[in-house]
Subunit: 367 residues, 3 copies
Amino acid sequence: MTKKLDDTNLKGVDRRDFLSLGAGAAGLFCALSAKDISNLSSRDVKNIDAAAASLKRPKFKAKAAAATLDPVDRYDFDTPDPAPGGQVREYWIQATTVLWDPIPTGKDAWMGGKQAHKKFRAFVYQLMTPGFASTAGVAQMPGPTLQADVGDVLRVHFRNADMTLNQPVTMHPHGVRYTPDYDGTYLGDFTRAGGFIAPGEEFTYTWECLPESEGVWPYHDHGPNHVLNSARGLFGAIIIRDPAKPRPDREVCLHLHSLAPPITGTPSMLHAINGRAFAGNTPTIRAKVGQTVAIHVLGMNSDFHTWHLHGHRWPDEAGAFVDSPAVGPSEVISIRYTEDNPGRFLYHCHVSSHMDAGMAGWYLVEK
Amino acid sequence: MTKKLDDTNLKGVDRRDFLSLGAGAAGLFCALSAKDISNLSSRDVKNIDAAAASLKRPKFKAKAAAATLDPVDRYDFDTPDPAPGGQVREYWIQATTVLWDPIPTGKDAWMGGKQAHKKFRAFVYQLMTPGFASTAGVAQMPGPTLQADVGDVLRVHFRNADMTLNQPVTMHPHGVRYTPDYDGTYLGDFTRAGGFIAPGEEFTYTWECLPESEGVWPYHDHGPNHVLNSARGLFGAIIIRDPAKPRPDREVCLHLHSLAPPITGTPSMLHAINGRAFAGNTPTIRAKVGQTVAIHVLGMNSDFHTWHLHGHRWPDEAGAFVDSPAVGPSEVISIRYTEDNPGRFLYHCHVSSHMDAGMAGWYLVEK
Amino acid sequence: MTKKLDDTNLKGVDRRDFLSLGAGAAGLFCALSAKDISNLSSRDVKNIDAAAASLKRPKFKAKAAAATLDPVDRYDFDTPDPAPGGQVREYWIQATTVLWDPIPTGKDAWMGGKQAHKKFRAFVYQLMTPGFASTAGVAQMPGPTLQADVGDVLRVHFRNADMTLNQPVTMHPHGVRYTPDYDGTYLGDFTRAGGFIAPGEEFTYTWECLPESEGVWPYHDHGPNHVLNSARGLFGAIIIRDPAKPRPDREVCLHLHSLAPPITGTPSMLHAINGRAFAGNTPTIRAKVGQTVAIHVLGMNSDFHTWHLHGHRWPDEAGAFVDSPAVGPSEVISIRYTEDNPGRFLYHCHVSSHMDAGMAGWYLVEK
């Protein structure tokens, strides 16, 4: 049985007919045009944040008669149920800002020496207990890894809990199937409810895990200020499994991203993995000889990378053995092998400017 | 029956023995070395254009005895005929400059707000009626999509009709088979007739559609000033089909490229699709539930992109499902699926600086 | 029979307990952080080289009790023997600096005109006769192509023969299997013997050629100053073959890399192939109609490329025909086809700023 999307999905939304800022807000956003984040000034960032904070919810349904709307914009959609045998996998997640240290050890355990570090205001997805009763662990970067099987639906109760940056945000998933209601994307005048979750609001997304959704995918903010807010840490991974296949003994998701000076307030760019830079801060992966290992590498910024693991090689999707596959923005490569090589190995992006600015880590294999 | 390449292929060529500009012209071209177009000054562009306009046809055959020529340079080649059962597919195409507005609506229909826009002098391939009798529709970017079946030959009658930029240009195809006569590439001292079509000249290219040519490929200028002139719009697509396979119900070619300030004369870089930037200007793709859809994404500049379509996923060549595949310079990804998800969806490059500067559009699915 | 790694593998090592420079040396290395080489000043290069030259061998085994060491760091490893039926393939290679001209003809044979050129101090792997008795040919870029069959072990006797730059270097292979002893990678406090070969020292690496090692892989310096020294030319290729498969009639390895002004001392960036820039300097590849051809394209810098060969197309790993595949840092694409198209053709990177700065060459096919 499916149910219509209704008001119970959208709590706390101010339904007044806001005046849209229109060209004014968009004009401020223009500071982003064709610029990498690293080229923004702190004033640019301030202006973009101010524009996002003052943006009013688009009057989508109220504009139903407007000439700009297409017939497809008037469609209503059902909320999907699991396929036969499938389950509803529920998550409660809030977006929150947190002071975050990208180099907590203050050192680079590979090349040696101290690394200057200080906390900056990150924006992350935090796992909550059911009903948003309480936090489920510390807020960290990346957000929780959402897991489901083919045939399930993921039901994600999402709350924008941040009052500091005070901006609308969303959760936009890759790989799963969703109707436009659950796309989690700001579309300007065509924005549906899930594409604009203002501070204090909640929204429940429902996503279908199709057979072709099997694999690993990113999720991230796709609200009006998605470029800055994703760069602040609003991202995570989704793993959809075929329950008939054995699970790997060791499994890890590595999110490759950057922490640019306009985001961190520090003078130099960091190239990070899961929010941390430099070996000893990035994930130290452990495995044992004989274990099956799965390493999922997600491209979470706008760079292209090649991910190299020393001492190992594995088949790519076409069956050719590789040890430094490319991963682009929003691409995911899933590496699978049975461990057979004990000792300490390095993993790193093979783009030298990324590797030198922190995109490296340890992989330790026990006999 | 094949025929030798002869003078009937080359009309209006001035056969005098020009003095080559040699190192002088090349020196001017050096402004391009190792620079992205976006780093050129308007003076650089002016100098490069002047060098191209003053360049004389290389004296290829006259130099047949020169020490620099290799035995392979003295080969004569037959013009190919279709394979048994194949056809000759003829096109008449002229290169022409046109004033082109990359943002005709003056708006970004996704993020909202006005976008400054003005026309610049684009350089495009324009479809003509047989015998160059008249234009076949308005000159636009990209050029016409050339279509043929495996076993056919494409016979493209090409005219350089532009007297404004006044430079030699060509048509260079990917994917099809051609002899050096029909390569359509300027090779300096080794240039054959099809590699230098001066203003006012015509040349007929003949390209074979082999079984391994099946698929979608770019064509573009490869004359002496190919980098600037391709960036001005001298590009298009070739589709070679296996006639035994069903055609998709909906098929679209998306050319990802950039319109840099030195080309457009406007202060900021645009990242464009099919000559246009920002949703509502870029192609709005329409499909219906149940239709088979083919979207061919061509990398037509020097950037690497990942192309994301919301609400959909499809198998890559190796059979793995993806929703944000990478596409590099001159690469093509062909996306095929049966439509099953109604509503309005966004498509965009997942490199944020490209997306923010216009590389996004609408995909509308009717029930 | 396997033997323990012992002192016979490491000759000339000064075993005194050096004081580590620690944070000081690392501080100098920080000039590299997040910078492409092209953004370094000559003073940066000088400082980085000085830091590398003053770096002391990490006291790995002496630190065995230190809290920073993991149990895996205390493992001892056997030196592998060939698989049944396999052989030991021995190479003697020294690292040496050499004055190297990237444009020996002083010309661009494609676009015409002179190209300023002068020699710079390159750092290369040089093939030696057995026992380091003498040089085996001229030192050149890239280093010798190491060849072996599946089931063999590669035993590479390596000597750091350079006293000019006076820095520790290594040989780090991709694709083959190695224990941490033979990784050839500087790991700071966790460095094993093969990861720090100081000037005047020798070390013997032993690498296993597994079934999944079949293919073509890069090797390169991975010592403490690997980014600069690889960019100076410390790289080469490894080909591992299935002996049951026929060898191609023509086979060539093309290393795509860059020679940045801080490396060459010349004002403009060169994009090079096998140490040379511009057609007529880069490899001129020759083939005959009917020959089987293998072209291995190795990404040896931090850029992404697409490699285009005119007049040809070939199946990628998934079986789809391409003519401009992408190749990223440390990736290798192996192109195989039977030659059927005589004449002169161009090959080049399809990134225009790379192509314009030298990343192009000739491919000549005889009838």
